[in-house]
Symmetry: C2
DNA sequence: CGTCCGCTTGACGATCCTCAAGAGCCGTGG
DNA sequence: CCACGGCTCTTGAGGATCGTCAAGCGGACG
């Protein structure tokens, strides 16, 4: 589970993750407290309420952050892609659950050790600060979607977003496409909808010729303009 | 409009705002670039897309942060109370509109000057960093509300939240109560509802004996337990 | 006292949810 | 390699919640 840390110099997210803003010395300090860890799809890294928690960088795969109401209704409040930062460094108890949507690789740091490193290295702290600001912008834009957009707009918007952030490859027919990391239930939990509504909206988009769906999870964007129009994403 | 800055030592939010974590020297540096400013209800401090923007601390009153879809549907993504920090220091263009819900007093700092101050004073930067983390937690908890709670739960929850953050005084009957800083339309924009739904939920809460409403805007909490139960706020 | 604006209330309708059944994909085991 | 079972997804019918449209109330202010 906890492999010794491998070499940062050859890391695939070296220039996208937090690490990008560190000099060699800082990078070494960070890598000293880090461990490489693999998660398999569905595995949870941090549970709500947990105290001896961790921070991490996503190397590969996709994670979700979730909250829930007291009676069990779930809301996914964010998705984490390669290069993204994971965790709540200043919280003694986690207020969210972090879990893997796909098999994933992380660089994991014990929370307290990471926090001391933050206070010693201004560049690290500043980099995380800027990322936190970006996360706040993203959260607020999701609030607009949750509060004010229709089911159709929500689904179209999420597909555009995922298409931009996920690796593309060719499907059976050779068309450019990507693999959905989320089940219909998880899409519903991101958008504040139900499974059935998500499913219906996806077939609507398919019937409208905006997307193609193969094997449930493989999506090809056939008409990006139409998709963005439906998603209420301004002028191309 | 721009009065010279008054004395921080006597400021009412001296120990609640960002300033609380500053020593005398840092406080002086901050106050040197700050100006006192009054906003009247409805007045906008920062418009979306604006570039020569500002940061501020709220001294008194309540502000709102809003976004909107391209066709004009609005969402209030946050409320700002005395002691809260206002603005987007690292954004060259504002992505939100900041406006006053009530008459308000602010300590306003030019954005770029504030950012230089941040990089010179670690304590200031760290304090704002922690506040940003808190804001992120709040945004995510609002996402749960927007995505997964019913109209009744939303309204009850907002009333509890406002009751906790706003000053209370006695109404005509002498009962403990507070003045709503938001119109029904603004409440709707916080919760992702319509005016009419908000109005109906409020009269439901009144008829259930949970609250009393006087002159539209004055609210008395009669049964906090029932209100919190309806709001899905766990065990008292 | 009269007008205006914000709020309330009602009737109706659309969107989305619920419940239910069935289809397709996938891994498992014969 | 095919058959089976389980799970996810799709599709349909019906219903609840919330939005829309419209009218009327009432407090605030001139």
């Amino acid at each position: 589970m906890h492999a010794p840390h491998t070499n940062c110099a050859v890391c695939v997210v070296r220039d996208r993750a937090l690490c990008a803003s560190l000099d060699d010395e800082e990078l070494k300090a960070l890598s000293n407290i880090g461990r490489h860890r693999r998660l398999s799809r569905g595995e949870t890294l941090i549970w709500v309420g947990e105290s001896g928690t961790v921070c991490a960088n996503v190397v590969s795969g996709v994670l979700q952050m979730t909250t829930a109401t007291s009676d069990g209704r779930e809301q996914i409040v964010g998705l984490l892609f390669p290069g993204d930062f994971v965790g709540q460094p200043f919280a003694t108890e986690a207020s969210l659950t972090f879990a893997a949507l796909t098999d994933a690789e992380l660089c994991v740091y014990p929370r307290t050790a990471f926090v001391s490193l933050l206070s010693e290295h201004g560049a690290l702290e500043r980099a995380l600060f800027h990322r936190t600001m970006d996360a706040l912008d993203e959260a607020r834009s999701r609030m607009l979607t949750l509060g004010r957009r229709s089911a159709g707009e929500k689904v179209a918007g999420l597909l555009v977003e995922l298409s931009e952030r996920l690796p593309h490859d060719a499907d059976d027919t050779g068309a450019d496409s990507f693999e959905l990391p989320l089940s219909r239930a998880q899409i519903a939990d991101v958008l504040g909808l139900t499974i059935e509504t998500v499913s219906r909206q996806m077939t609507k988009l398919r019937d409208a010729g905006a997307i193609a769906i193969a094997r449930r999870r493989r999506i090809a964007i056939l008409d990006l303009d139409r998709l963005m129009e439906r998603a209420d994403i301004p002028h191309a």
